[in-house]
C-alpha cells in the first residue's frame, strides 16, 4: 500500500490577533518577569502553561492582579478598564484590533437606537465584552431558531469574530424578515473566513481530518463542526498524544487544520506523529 498523503489546510493556526497578543506578552515579559493575565492568554492550554513558566500568571479577576495586567485578544468590558485604572495597574492591552472594531460597532448600534443582536456564543469572553459595549442591552443568538423569536423595528447586528460564515448568513436571512430596518456589521474576521474555507475544501478530499486546538477554543470547535459536514472521520485533538493508530487504517488522504490559537509547534508535533504512524502501519 502507498503511504498516506498528509495535507495541511492552506490557512491554519495562529491568526493575526493571536500572534500580536503573543508578541505583546513576549515584549512585556522581557521588561517585567511578573505579569497577570485576565483569563488565559489564548484558548490553548499548552501555550498557557508555557507562558506561566515565563511569568504570566492567569487570574480570574482584577482583584487578584498586581502591578501589570495583560488584556488578551478577546477584549474586556469597558467597566473593567475603569477598574484597572482605579487600581492603578499597568494595562498591557492585547485586544485584537478586529475584536475592538466589533466592540465599537456594538456601541454605535446601541447608541443609534438599534436593538442589538450579537451572533455568537453568549458564554465566550469576546461576546461578553460585546454585550457590555451595547450597554448590556444586547441579545445573543447562535442559531436560526433563536432568530425567529426576535422582533424589532430596527435591528443592529454584529458577530463574534470567529463565527462560521454559513451560520452567520443563515441567521441574518431569518432576521431580515423580522425588522423594517436591519443594519449588519459583518465582523467575522478575514482569517476566520479563510481558515473555515480552507478546512471545508480540505475535508472534501480527505479520508480523515485532524483538527488541532484547545478544547475551550470556540473557533477550533467551529472548524471541527464544519469538517464534520464534509468528511466521515473527523477528530478534535489538543496534542499528538491523543492520536490513535487505528484511525489511520485504510486511510490514504489525511487533512490537518488548526484553530487560531494553536501554535505551529503543536501542529508540527502532530504531523511528525502521523508520519511515524504511517511508517508503522503501511
Amino acid at each position: 500500500m502507498l503511504p498516506m498523503k498528509i495535507r495541511i489546510a492552506q490557512n491554519a493556526g495562529f491568526c493575526y490577533g493571536v500572534r500580536r497578543a503573543i508578541k505583546i506578552a513576549d515584549e512585556a515579559l522581557e521588561k517585567n518577569k511578573s505579569i497577570y493575565s485576565l483569563g488565559p492568554i489564548i484558548h490553548n492550554p499548552q501555550v498557557v502553561s508555557e507562558y506561566e513558566k515565563k511569568g504570566l500568571k492567569v487570574v480570574e479577576s482584577i482583584d487578584e492582579a498586581k502591578n501589570a495586567i495583560l488584556i488578551r485578544s478577546h477584549g474586556i468590558p469597558p467597566q473593567i478598564y475603569k477598574l484597572i485604572n482605579k487600581k492603578k495597574l499597568e494595562c498591557i492591552d492585547a485586544t485584537c484590533p478586529f475584536v475592538k472594531e466589533a466592540q465599537d460597532y456594538a456601541k454605535q448600534l446601541y447608541e443609534e437606537g438599534y436593538f442589538v443582536v450579537i451572533i455568537g456564543d453568549k458564554n465566550h469572553p469576546e461576546v461578553q465584552a460585546h454585550i457590555a459595549y451595547a450597554n448590556y442591552q444586547a441579545q445573543v443568538i447562535n442559531s436560526k431558531e433563536e432568530a425567529k423569536n426576535i422582533q424589532a423595528q430596527k435591528i443592529g447586528v454584529v458577530s463574534q469574530t470567529t463565527q462560521s460564515v454559513d451560520n452567520f448568513v443563515s441567521i441574518v436571512s431569518e432576521l431580515v424578515k423580522k425588522a423594517k430596518e436591519i443594519r449588519i456589521f459583518n465582523t467575522i474576521c478575514d482569517a476566520t473566513e479563510k481558515r473555515q474555507e480552507s478546512a471545508k475544501e480540505l475535508a472534501q478530499i480527505s479520508d480523515i481530518m485532524i483538527v488541532i486546538g484547545g478544547k475551550n477554543s470556540a473557533n477550533t470547535r467551529k472548524l471541527f463542526e464544519i469538517c464534520l459536514n464534509f468528511c466521515k472521520k473527523v477528530y478534535y485533538i489538543e496534542t499528538k498524544e491523543e492520536l490513535k493508530k487505528e484511525w489511520f487504517y485504510n486511510v490514504k488522504n489525511v487533512g490537518i487544520t488548526a484553530g487560531a490559537s494553536t501554535p505551529s509547534w503543536l501542529i508540527d508535533d502532530v504531523i511528525q506523529a502521523i508520519e511515524s504512524i504511517d511508517n508503522d502501519i503501511h
Copy 2:
C-alpha cells in the same frame, strides 16, 4: 361528481396604495373632467379604459399634459416634479405612501455614502423613481446571481414594494457576504407579503390556481410565479374571457388570487364564470 370548491385567497386584489390612488383620481375627476395621467393609473388595462371614459387621459411625458397631472401610485423621479412645477401644472399626487418611504430610504442611503442596491425590476416605473432618488447611482438587481457581482464596503438596500419576500431574502443572504456593512430597509409592503403568503397557502391545497391581473402588473406576475411552485396548474388571466372550460376537467379545488391592481369587479366576474363552467361540466 361533486361540484368544484372555489376559494379566494384571503388577501387578494386592490392594496391600500391602489385604492388610495383610485380615490384621489375619483375626487379629482369630480372637480375636473380633463386630467392627464403620467402612465396608466394602475397596471390594469380594464381599469385604465374605464377611467379614460371618465376623463383621465394617459400620457407618456409631461409635455403632452395640460392643466392637471395625476401621479400614479408608483411615484416619479424628483426631476419630474420640477418639470411639473416649471410647466405650472396642478400636481395630483397619488404616489403610494409606502413607495414614498422607499424613495426616501434610497435617498438617505445614497446621501450617507452607501452603495445603493435596489432589489427589483429595473424597467418598472417604481424602481425607475427609486434609482433617481439615489441620484442615479444605484444598482438594480433581481436575483442571487446578480448579487454575486456586487462588491462594496458599505451596501445600502431597498426593495421594490412588490418584490417577493423569498427572493428578497435570498438576494440579501448573498449580499451579506459581500460587504463589511450592509444596511437593509425592507420596503416590501405588508399587503404584498400577505398577498403572497395567502397565494402560497391556497396554491398548496388547490388543483388549479387562477391568478387575475394585468399582464403588465409586476406584483401579479410575482403571484403567478409563487403559485407555480406550489400547484401544477396555474393560469394567469386578465379577464373571464380567457378562461377555458378544459382547464377544469377533473378539478375539485379551485384557488383564485389577484394582484394589487385588480379591481374586485374583475374578480367577481371570474368567479361567476367559473361557477357557470362548473355547472356546465359537472
